[in-house]
Symmetry: C2
Subunit: 247 residues, 2 copies
């Protein structure tokens, strides 16, 4: 029996929210196609993505979404909930699956707040059209929300033995936490360098995930799109001042 080939649909030029799904598929060595990154001649591209999106019985509100046979699933945390047991990235019992999902949904909340640091007014406007508000929101995010969210995850990790967020074994939540740390370091290098001593276990988890053979190979490949200023994690130096310039 062949493993199914998963089809991932997401914007082709960014890591964005799709990256949390890519990391799970890559770590599991699962066969998948990143459809919108293929040329139109191979039935790929954004137009193919939007066509499937609009025609499906339960239309996704937005990418990413995953097709697996007849099933089309949207919302990152929902996709990971579905993939988790199939990829061996979460224990199969209900309590573990709900616990992992609870943590993933909290990561979803954090990622939405990261997005709003550069788009506090409207996603229909450019960053350049909401810069004063972005600065104010970023200051609050770094002062209050980073400590609250990452302090929470550090506590969960500590309480579960320090190796894995879910306890006994690696799960897709650990992979997502790698991406959160990696993304926050890209977006806010000064703030994260200053905060790192308060989250030693999360930093160690990040490093262990980066060394997993399939993840290391993925990160070194051209399948890993570099961070850029179109994704969720964006680096605008004015939102992350050097320590000497901080108020």
């Amino acid at each position: 029996m062949n493993a199914p080939t998963y089809e991932l649909y997401y914007w082709p030029g960014i890591q964005g929210r799709g990256e949390f799904v890519r990391l799970a598929l890559e770590d599991a060595g699962a066969p998948y196609v990143d459809v919108a990154r293929l040329p139109a001649a191979k039935h790929g591209g954004v137009a193919a993505m939007q066509k499937l999106m609009k025609s499906h019985a339960l239309e996704p509100f937005a990418p990413p979404f995953l097709r697996s046979g007849d099933v089309v699933i949207a919302q990152v945390a929902n996709i990971l909930f579905y993939l988790g047991p199939r990829l061996g990235l979460v224990p199969d019992d209900e309590a573990s699956r709900l616990g992992a999902h609870q943590l993933q949904l909290t990561i979803t909340d954090l990622v939405a707040e990261v997005h709003d640091t550069h788009h506090p007014i409207s996603i229909e406007l450019y960053y350049e059209d909401q810069k004063p508000e972005a600065l104010r929101r970023s200051q609050a995010f770094l002062a209050e929300r980073i400590p609250k969210f990452l302090g929470y995850f550090e506590r969960v990790l500590d309480r579960h033995g320090g190796r894995h967020l879910l306890g006994g074994a690696m799960s897709y939540v650990d992979l997502s936490m790698f991406q959160v740390i990696e993304g926050l370091r890209y977006a806010f290098p000064h703030a994260m360098a200053a905060f790192a001593p308060r989250i030693p276990k999360l930093v160690a988890l990040h490093d262990r995930v980066a060394e997993r053979p399939r993840i290391a190979a993925y990160l070194a490949s051209d399948r890993r799109i570099p961070f850029n200023e179109d994704g969720v994690f964006r680096h605008y130096p004015e939102l992350d001042p050097a320590p000497s310039k901080r108020r």
Copy 2:
């Protein structure tokens, strides 16, 4: 065999995010205790809620959370995913459960954006400390996001026959959509009155949910906390100008 008594933990003075769980429990006629609304003498109150929250192996990041026997589950959509089949509020097959959850997570995204109309900078600040930004965000929300989100749900409803968002039968998603429409009408009465002709099927769904006997009884009871300016849906007249005063 007795049905389990569910324990809901949420801030006692607001509908907030807990209301989506209350509506499911009420519609199903499920036995539940709204723990933080009980007096401390009955093991209730906010202190009891926070004590359980901090002591649980998988600490919730924030209320609401649900206790069912030994299980403690946080995140509204996760709670509804768990309760759905147990309360008969979603079909038991995987495809239906994932589809309902996908819709519920999109409602979660909408509710987060509603929250940010009055708190676009920081939840640690009062609304009064972020009024100019709140006005700007609300204008964008009403002009762009309400049409995008509600237009999407109207389309899903239409494609599924017009009676239920998930298709064949009432689900917890329909109950949550009632609350979204009710809350948006409270917060933005002018804007919603103007927008209503574009979402006739959602409005009719809202009205049918309000007439369900257990929901009608609940809404008329003192268990239903009135909307107020501490919850997610807040009415600040300056954020919802009368049509004649709109730009």
